[in-house]
């Protein structure tokens, strides 16, 4: 372990302005619209076509966090949006700047995270001519945004930004893009943007149909094996408190989806934790055998359902969702409850007279917890177990600590072996499964919640994809800890190769990776390396007590696998507990 000379961030050459922007150009209108929407921080990278916007930003009280790569700007904005509940903002220039955002925008779209991406564009007169750094950003982002806007009028560009912001945060959140041609942002205008408002065609539902509510409630009263499935929509809809009260009052076991992690406290008796491909055995038993499923804010992703034919096959489904297109998309709802999660839970609660008579079921759920414990096997002197690392971190950090992750085995251990008790503490890439999400997400999360501990569990493969973000974390002196669960492989791929490709390790071994502690030091972060269980606790403590970013390179057991596991399209109730059961 070495202590690098980390200087405090270079003082900015200018004091941060405090006065709101006076509109004198399209670009200033863009910035004024952000200020008016309450935006305080944006993430981005400079470039030709976005320069007018950056010039206007220079005089704004909005803090700009310069990122090392636009993908990082998008993920940081995404995580900022998850932690705060308000859209994270990212900026990029046209062409490669915009295309570098794409992964992050697609990620936000899959996970319904509120985000606004502002992209520079070539001047309107040159659009379509294959001008320097021209890409069809609107065309490219249409399938991966909630909506997108080509701003072609300097007098309304601020209104458009306001609408994009409002749309991103409302109803089912999601990313929006405003493409900003340089002549529009450069043009003179003194028109101050109007207050942000939703497009007139967008009217998310609030209360569900009362007849369906009462039918769903009566069916729940009759249920003998009820389960609640709590999805990411519960967190986004700020309904975690209502969910907790509802489940506890009516004594209904709660299973979560991965994005729903933290919506119900995992230390509660009724918590069955995550279901699906790498969900707990007890969650998958509960969801497979329930006779009534109250699903809230979930889109029944295939990683959750496994094969549709065997997903909660005997359950009547009541589905609360704010997006009508999610109801009966993958699983047919017997009780479609279109509306806001908190509101509909309250409606249901009002219709219920007591708790379902399901004592035997509640006991069964507890028996499954005992039958399928998440106890991994380890030897204190043996190879370092990643599950142990995750548990130790959980022990040594406060309960409101924010966890971010890359994608792979480490992500699954991070969700399985950490006890999440609060919403907005789990920040991960679910639907898109984006390796490289973890570090930029930790940057965004820390800036969103500077007083909270932020831990990024990363894989060696994932970390390599966006490691340049360390430069940003050092410059901003962000007090984050990156725990690389290093198995010198893209471990999840290696696990699948062992299970489904006869152990043929095609392109999955990474013996060529750098020493991450040294890499961190070269960036000016603090680096640690750990190989033994008895070093884990003291190293975590040292890392946490260090100001500024730290990287711990945990050399974990390269053969460790993630279980339980339901193979793609498999039967959740037949989850494998070891490779020979696959």
């Amino acid at each position: 372990m070495t202590t690098p000379d980390v200087e405090s961030p270079p003082p900015s050459d200018e004091e941060q302005p405090t006065q709101p922007t006076t509109v004198d150009s399209g670009a200033a209108a863009v910035i004024a619209a952000l200020e008016q929407a309450g935006v305080t921080t944006v993430f981005g990278v400079q470039g030709g076509a976005i320069m007018p916007v950056y010039d206007a930003l220079y005089d704004s009280p909005i803090r700009h966090v310069t990122m090392a790569h636009e993908q990082g700007a998008a993920h940081a904005a995404d995580a900022y949006g998850i932690v705060t509940g308000e859209p994270g903002i990212c900026l990029a220039t046209s062409g490669p700047g915009a295309t570098n955002l794409i992964t992050g925008i697609a990620d936000a779209n899959m996970d319904s995270d509120p985000m606004v991406a502002l992209t520079g564009q070539v001047p309107t007169g040159m659009v379509g001519n294959d001008a320097f750094q021209e890409t069809d950003t609107i065309g490219i982002t249409s399938p991966i945004t909630k909506s997108n806007y080509f701003a072609d009028d300097e007098t309304t560009v601020g209104d458009v930004v306001g609408e994009a912001f409002e749309l991103a945060r409302s109803g089912r959140p999601g990313p929006t893009v405003v493409d900003l041609p340089k002549d529009i942002t450069n043009a003179e205008t003194d028109r101050h943007p109007r207050q942000p408002r939703l497009p007139d065609t967008y009217r998310p539902a609030s209360r569900a149909d009362s007849e369906v509510v009462s039918a769903a409630a009566h069916a729940l009263e009759r249920a003998e094996k009820p389960v609640i499935l709590s999805g990411g929509g519960v967190i986004k809809g700020e309904a975690s408190d209502e969910l907790r009260a509802f489940a506890i009052d009516h004594e209904i076991p709660v299973v979560t989806t991965m994005p729903g992690t933290g919506s119900f406290p995992e230390d509660h008796e009724l918590a069955m934790e995550m279901a699906g491909m790498h969900g707990t055995g007890y969650a998958n038993m509960a969801i497979t055998h329930c006779d009534y499923l109250l699903a809230i804010g979930t889109r029944f992703d295939d990683r959750l359902t496994g094969g549709i034919e065997t997903f909660a096959p005997a359950a009547e489904l009541a589905h609360i969702d704010i997006d009508p297109a999610e109801i009966s998309k993958n699983i047919t709802a017997d009780y479609p409850l279109l509306g806001d999660a908190a509101t509909v839970l309250e409606q249901l609660d009002n219709e219920l007279s007591g708790i379902p008579h399901a004592d035997e079921w509640r006991e069964q759920c507890q028996r499954w917890k005992a039958e399928y414990p998440m106890d991994y096997q380890w030897d204190p002197d043996g190879p370092l177990k990643p599950q142990y690392v995750v548990e130790q971190f959980d022990e040594l950090t406060p309960s409101d600590t924010i966890v971010t992750t890359g994608v792979g085995q480490h992500q699954m251990w991070a969700v399985q072996y950490w006890t999440y008790t609060q919403p907005r503490t789990w920040v991960s890439s679910h639907g898109l499964g984006t390796m490289g999400y973890g570090l930029p997400a930790a940057i965004g999360a820390k800036i969103a919640a500077p007083d909270r501990e932020v831990v990024c569990f990363d894989g060696d493969g994932s970390f390599l994809m966006t490691a340049q973000g360390l430069a940003v974390a050092v410059r901003e002196q962000l007090d984050i800890t990156i725990a690389v669960l290093n198995n010198a492989a893209v471990g999840m791929v290696r696990q699948w190769q062992d299970a489904f490709f006869e152990g043929r390790h095609s392109a999955s071994q990474y013996p060529w990776i750098p020493a991450f502690d040294k890499l961190a030091e070269s960036f000016g972060a603090q680096g640690f390396a750990v190989e033994r269980h008895d070093e884990v606790e003291s190293t975590i403590e040292a890392a946490i007590s260090t100001d500024g970013p730290t990287v711990i390179d945990f050399h974990i057991d390269p053969d460790e696998n993630v279980y339980p596991m339901v193979p793609s399209g498999g039967d959740n109730g037949k989850f494998a507990l070891s490779e020979d059961q696959l």
């Binding site: 399938p143 909506s147 065609t201 967008y202 696998n561 507990l577």
Partner: protein
């Protein structure tokens, strides 16, 4: 190799004794078959702005809805356009297409048209002009007319519901078809019924910016 976790193996676990269909419906004991496909006309009123058609077309291809035709054109109100889609889908597929369409921000409303809706398609059929009299007789049969005649070819215009166009094209094949162009179906709801409601707050107010 990693040892995995403890617990009863899959073969020792209870079976829920039920199944869903591949489209996610619970299977009743008296077994419901997968729903058949149905041909429907969806009419969407949309904001008349650049990119709307691309968004609608992109949606249908991306979500693999079976689309037979798509037409777009202005309406009497300059800020609106109407898109008419003919799709062939199962019942859940039709619902899903309609919901996804409604979700697009520039889309104002979407209606599945009833069987009594007025629907028309226009086709131009260019055939070898060797038998002009026979061609105009067949055109008459389909209430069509010759709209272009050259030494070698005759082009006939036919308007009608899609099956009639299909039938006409088949009949004209005997003359030797050189080229065909079809517009796809345009449709309006029958009687005073509004095809797709357009009274959205703020939108129809011409002073709105």
């Amino acid at each position: 190799m990693s040892q995995g976790l403890q617990g009863p193996p899959p073969e020792d676990r209870p079976d829920p004794g039920a199944k869903r269909t591949p489209s996610g419906a619970r299977i009743d004991p008296d077994n419901q078959p997968e729903p058949p496909r149905r041909r429907v006309i969806l009419s969407a009123l949309v904001k008349h702005e650049p990119g709307v058609l691309a968004k609608v077309a992109g949606l249908f291809s991306r979500r693999q809805f079976n689309i037979e035709s798509l037409t777009v054109g202005p309406t009497a109100y300059e800020r609106h356009a109407r898109i008419t889609l003919v799709i062939e889908e199962t019942e859940p597929g039709i619902d899903q297409a309609q919901k996804q369409l409604e979700k697009l921000i520039p889309v104002i409303s979407v209606t599945e048209l009833d069987g009594d809706a007025v629907d028309r398609e226009l086709a131009l059929i260019k055939v070898d002009g060797d038998h002009p009299d026979a061609i105009s007789a067949v055109a008459d049969m389909y209430d069509g007319q010759a709209v272009d005649v050259s030494a070698e070819t005759v082009t006939v215009e036919i308007t009608g519901p899609e099956p009639r166009i299909d039938a006409a094209i088949e009949t004209f094949e005997r003359f030797g078809i050189r080229e065909v162009v079809r517009t796809g179906t345009a449709a309006l709801a029958a009687g005073p019924q509004e095809t797709a409601p357009g009274h959205v707050a703020g939108l129809t107010d011409p002073t709105d910016t």
